[in-house]
């Protein structure tokens, strides 16, 4: 069983596909397996556990988005990728003006693509976050259950004690609020209350 398990680690398609379908078990495994290394690196370089969590969350977001876009290389090893992105993000933060006196231990790493911190990807993540932050509680619940958890409308309606038609309407209105917000961004304006 041990040898078979080790062989499964190499199955790129399985974990990448699980990420694409937002499988919580895969997130849990990625965290259990790879966060300790990131935490150790950040703590060795003047950071806290909270800093390590921030870096890891940003790295997971990059990995997740690239999986969604289908732009992950077939030989991507998730541990190396997450460590590389977390490390680079932490180095960026350490190099910022407030933390110039910190000692950074250089470490060699392989296996992660070179473009993981491409500016356009970062900007896109920030835009997505802006949109996400505009949702109020009801929109977050309905849209999250439908698009993230992939629940059908009957299930959502039953859980919320309303009709399917109500959920359909709420979903439409919420998405139109996000659309309007994006139009404001496109027009160079700010502000939209979800």
């Amino acid at each position: 069983m041990e040898e078979k398990a080790a062989a499964d680690i190499l199955l790129f398609s399985a974990w990448a596909e699980a990420l694409v379908r937002n499988d919580p078990g895969t997130l849990k495994k990625l965290y259990a397996l790879h966060f300790p290394t990131v935490k150790q690196y950040v703590q060795r370089n003047s950071g806290t556990v909270e800093d390590a969590r921030d870096m890891f969350q940003e790295a997971i977001t990059v990995l997740w988005l690239k999986a969604k876009d289908g732009t992950l290389q077939q030989n991507t090893e998730p541990g190396a990728f997450l460590f590389r992105v977390s490390k680079n993000k932490w180095l960026d933060r350490v190099r910022s003006a407030a933390q110039r006196t910190m000692t950074v231990v250089p470490v060699e790493h392989t296996g992660a693509p070179d473009d993981v911190e491409a500016v356009d990807l970062e900007e896109r993540i920030q835009r997505l976050k802006q949109v996400c932050d505009r949702m109020d509680g009801q929109c977050r619940t309905v849209l999250g259950r439908f698009y993230f958890q992939r629940e059908d409308m009957a299930t959502i309606a039953a859980a919320m004690g309303v009709t399917e038609d109500s959920i359909r309407t709420i979903k439409y209105r919420c998405m139109m609020k996000l659309r309007a917000f994006r139009k404001h961004i496109a027009d160079g304006e700010n502000g939209m209350e979800a």
């Binding site: 069983m1 078979k4 990625l30 909270e50 698009y147």
Partner: protein, 240 residues
Amino acid sequence: MSKGALAQVRFEAIEAYLLGSMPAADCVRFEQELNTDAELRAEVDLQRENMLAVEMGGMQQTLRSIMAQNEERSSSGWGHYLKYAAAVTVLLIGALWWFSRTPLNERLYAEYHQTDPGLPVPMSTTRNPEFQDAMVAYKLGHYAEATDQWSSLLKNSPGNDTLNYYIASAQLAEGNTTAAIPLFKDVAGNTASVFHAKAKWYLFLLFLQEGHYAEMRALGMEQDSTYGERAGRIMEQIGK
């Protein structure tokens, strides 16, 4: 992207297209329209990004929940260092008391015992997903959850050495030696098992902890190629 409103029926058509739930014939027509209608293409791109934003929010929230379940929040500044200083002081005092009060066999047990780290967990969920989920729980220190899941699997594979060994390891990590010992004995008695030597080693340590020296000796652990040297040192120290 249109500056005006987007009708609900149009929104739902785009949504069905993006979610892959649009009927094939409608999909062909929709894609033909996409090829010629730049405004529709912009609308589809916008809706795809908004759906992605919702998913990203859900993913990050899920990750935060996982983190909250498994990590204590750390503090910063002087409080951080004082907390560690206090912890070190308590540990030193505890160690002094422990060395002066604790019997030799229990000290040796604590010195040599290390919880089994578990097996590597694959990212694939296609093979033994229940076993792997339990292994993740075990690695996170959720031993009761791991025990429950593996015990459930054991009903379909009675006598499975891997399950017996890891259930025993989880029980031991929980401090439940009474439940761990018979399971380790079962695996230690199976010379074909890859866990045979490890199970014997944990039995040896458990007998040491309980002061059952005759049973320790009966295991013949000093002859083991992996654990023999450590076992010999322990036997020498306890003078048995």
